[in-house]
């Protein structure tokens, strides 16, 4: 098979040389980024000139440059494992992935949002903790040079709030997905592998949960948890223990409680089909235990659709969490979140001069969700080309 030809020693040498150079470039860019970042911060601190527009542009530019090299080289770091072959699976994965421009865009936005969320305290130009008293003179101002997104009715900088909002959104999106997928995988494996009454019971539970629209179910749980003092207290206690504000944690629990069905159904279906493969019998004839068969053989062959679905559902949970907050059921009002900002915007939606209150948090929210959706789609195409037959 020519596709898997080995590289000749000369080619290998050229390749190594190329890799070294690329890595040097990345290192240089990385240093520049760090340098610019430190310089910006230093400027801001010494001059008290908080919004130097030029430096902001330099920062964004350096980031874009860095990202470009990152995307270009990411697979080389992985492919070391297998670079002896011309077309290894990892290289093929990246080739397919990069063909899908929307997915690359999604990856870019997703990573950017994650960086913004993690470094929000450093990147936000204004403090968002005690804005209520200090910035009231800026109440509801439209976007200006100093406040690129304008300000809220309490006078807080909308841009800073949007950055902080990314934290809560990603915590919900990624956290709930992680919990849901873990529970779903375990239940799916159990149901698919053992079958019988366990399977029937889980299938029934799945049917019942699926009979509700997800948001309705979550709202109902939120209502119950908030209305019952004992329940609320106990969940808040756990939240406090984990250092999470009470109401926020309640919303998190409500979402996580039912987020398992998607992964459960995927894994269960996959187990049913993989179970019939002869390599499962082969493992059994070698005396493999159920645990080994489940993790090594079944799970390994079922993970692809779960990864794809997880990426897409991150976006879904971000929307659900924002909807909850929008309705006044989600995060505490004191915590900056996009849903909260949007519900404020909704109050002024009929006045066009306050449109920035609606536009910017919504843009952040939509772009984040879009990023994870397109990323998931790109992963689907790149990881499992048979899922979409016509895409070679």
């Amino acid at each position: 098979m020519p596709k898997y030809e080995r590289l000749s020693p000369e080619e290998l040498e050229v390749y190594e040389e190329f890799k070294r150079k690329e890595n040097q470039k990345i290192g240089a860019v990385f240093l520049v980024v760090v340098f610019v970042f430190i310089l910006t911060k230093w400027f801001l601190l010494t001059r008290g000139n908080i919004d130097s527009i030029l430096l902001r542009y330099i920062g964004v530019g350096a980031y874009l440059l860095f990202f470009y090299f990152f995307l270009k080289n990411i697979y080389r770091w992985y492919s070391d494992v297998n670079y002896r072959y011309r077309a290894n699976p990892i290289k093929r994965f990246f080739n397919r992935f990069y063909k899908n421009k929307l997915a690359v865009f999604g990856l870019f936005v997703a990573i950017t949002i994650i960086i913004l969320a993690v470094f929000a305290p450093m990147l936000a130009p204004y403090n968002v903790d005690n804005y209520q008293s200090s910035w009231t003179k800026f109440s509801m101002i439209p976007p200006t040079k100093r406040h690129v997104f304008g300000a809220t009715n309490a006078g807080a900088d909308l841009f800073s709030l949007c950055l902080y909002g990314a934290r809560i959104a990603l915590t919900f999106g990624i956290g709930v997905t992680a919990i849901g997928v873990s529970i779903g995988i375990v239940l799916g494996l159990i149901a698919g592998y053992y079958g019988g009454w366990i399977d029937r019971f889980l299938q029934y539970l799945n049917d019942v949960v699926m009979a509700f629209p997800f948001l309705v179910l979550v709202i109902t749980v939120m209502g119950a948890l908030l209305a019952n003092p004992a329940l609320r207290e106990s969940v808040t206690q756990i939240g406090n223990f984990l250092n999470v504000p009470g109401k926020l944690f309640i919303a998190f629990v409500a979402l996580s409680l039912f987020g398992w069905t998607g992964a459960y159904r995927l894994i269960r279906g996959k187990v049913f089909s993989v179970r019939e493969e002869e390599y499962i019998d082969a493992a059994k004839s070698l005396g493999a235990s159920n645990r080994v068969i489940m993790t090594k053989h079944i799970l390994r062959n079922s993970l692809t659709p779960v990864i794809v679905q997880a990426s897409i559902s991150v976006g879904g949970y971000i929307i659900t969490a924002a909807s909850l907050t929008f309705l006044g059921l989600g995060a505490n009002p004191s915590i900056p979140s996009w849903g909260r900002l949007l519900s404020q915007g909704n109050a002024y939606v009929t006045q066009l001069r306050y449109f920035h209150l609606t536009l910017f948090p919504g843009l952040f929210l939509t772009m984040t969700v879009l990023a994870f959706t397109t990323l998931g789609d790109g992963l689907r195409d790149a990881l499992d080309p048979t899922m979409r037959r016509n895409d070679q």
Binding site: Y204, F212, T220, N346, T350, T358, L365, V369
Partner: protein, 322 residues
């Protein structure tokens, strides 16, 4: 063709699922004592009055008894009175709210299907052209955009800025479902119809596109072309029917999405449909309404799914209902 035993089995399963929904709904409402009687009478009401009201509503009984009573009453179509709107029967409230939400749900479904099927078909047929790329982009954005934000954008842009649509239509529910009214009131609810329908449109476009792609690569299509059939006949007669099966079968699930969406979107548009009713009932702990909404809604979805499953076997003779 339609297997009687299968339908009975499905009905049995549907009853079981509804029982589960009732159990979850009951647990999540009655177990959480929001003290609705106190809330209904106000904080200053004396203890005797509150207790009397609780007795009237049956809240003083032990939980298992309440669980049983509610179920029996529900089956007997005796759905009691609302905790929040004193003196109004649950049946009456639902009867006034359901037609409204149904109205824009139906139109959203129409909007979604009318938009998505041609877009998906053309995109698949002209794969990797600008039409295809556009359809992929539209469907990705449509899926990702939160419906309440879309609603706010529509209000701000279409209603306030361009002044094309009205924001708060006050239409009596009766006229919505009359003959000319059903069509003339579309303009009044245009905003919410588009808002609700967009996510559905996006999903259906994707589905139509990918199922058409699959069908077009099947050998019987190659065969039909080889026979020398006109391209139009190939696509419309051979491909379309098979490509639409997944779209048709997901209508039940689509309705689910629409009603889930209505919960938030009705708040944005300030409409008093069942979505808004549900939120209000959750916040005010209006138990009879919560339970009645959950159950009526589930019954609807389960039956729509059953009907679609049966019609599926009519469309596709390979499907055997067992």
């Amino acid at each position: 063709m339609v297997n009687k035993e299968y339908i009975l089995k499905r009905l049995g399963l549907a009853v079981l699922v509804m029982f589960g929904v009732y159990t979850i709904g009951f647990t999540l409402t009655f177990v959480a004592p929001g003290n609705p009687a106190q809330a209904a009478l106000g904080q200053k009401a004396n203890k005797e009055a509150v207790e009397a009201l609780e007795e009237q509503w049956g809240l003083n009984e032990p939980l298992p008894v309440q669980y049983k009573n509610y179920l029996i009453n529900f089956i007997n179509l005796d759905w009691g009175e609302s905790f929040r709107y004193r003196g109004e029967s649950v049946t009456g409230i639902l009867a006034s709210r359901y037609p409204k939400t149904m109205y824009y749900a139906v139109w959203s479904l129409v909007f979604a299907i009318v938009m998505s099927i041609p877009l998906g078909l053309i995109a698949a047929y002209k794969q990797n052209t600008w039409v295809d790329n556009l359809s992929v982009l539209v469907s990705q954005v449509g899926i990702s955009i939160p419906n309440f934000w879309l609603g706010m954008l529509i209000i701000a842009i279409l209603a306030v800025w361009l002044d094309l649509i009205s924001v708060v239509p006050d239409v009596p529910t009766g006229s919505l479902w009359s003959f000319p009214g059903f069509f003339t009131h579309v303009t009044d609810y245009f905003g919410i119809i588009i808002t609700l329908g967009t996510a559905l449109m996006a999903r259906n476009t994707r589905m139509t596109r990918s199922s058409t792609l699959d069908v077009l690569s099947e050998e019987y299509i190659t065969m039909a072309r080889a026979k020398g059939l006109k391209e139009r006949t190939v696509v419309l007669k051979h491909a379309l029917r098979n490509a639409l099966i997944p779209v048709v079968t997901s209508i039940g699930f689509n309705l689910l999405l629409l009603f889930g969406g209505a919960v938030v979107v009705e708040t944005v548009f300030g409409l008093n449909g069942i979505g808004k009713l549900y939120i209000d009932s959750i916040i005010r702990r209006d138990y009879p309404i919560i339970i009645a909404l959950l159950l009526t809604y589930t019954i609807g979805v389960v039956f729509v799914n059953l009907i679609i499953d049966i019609s599926y076997s009519v469309i596709d003779p390979r499907v055997q209902l067992r």
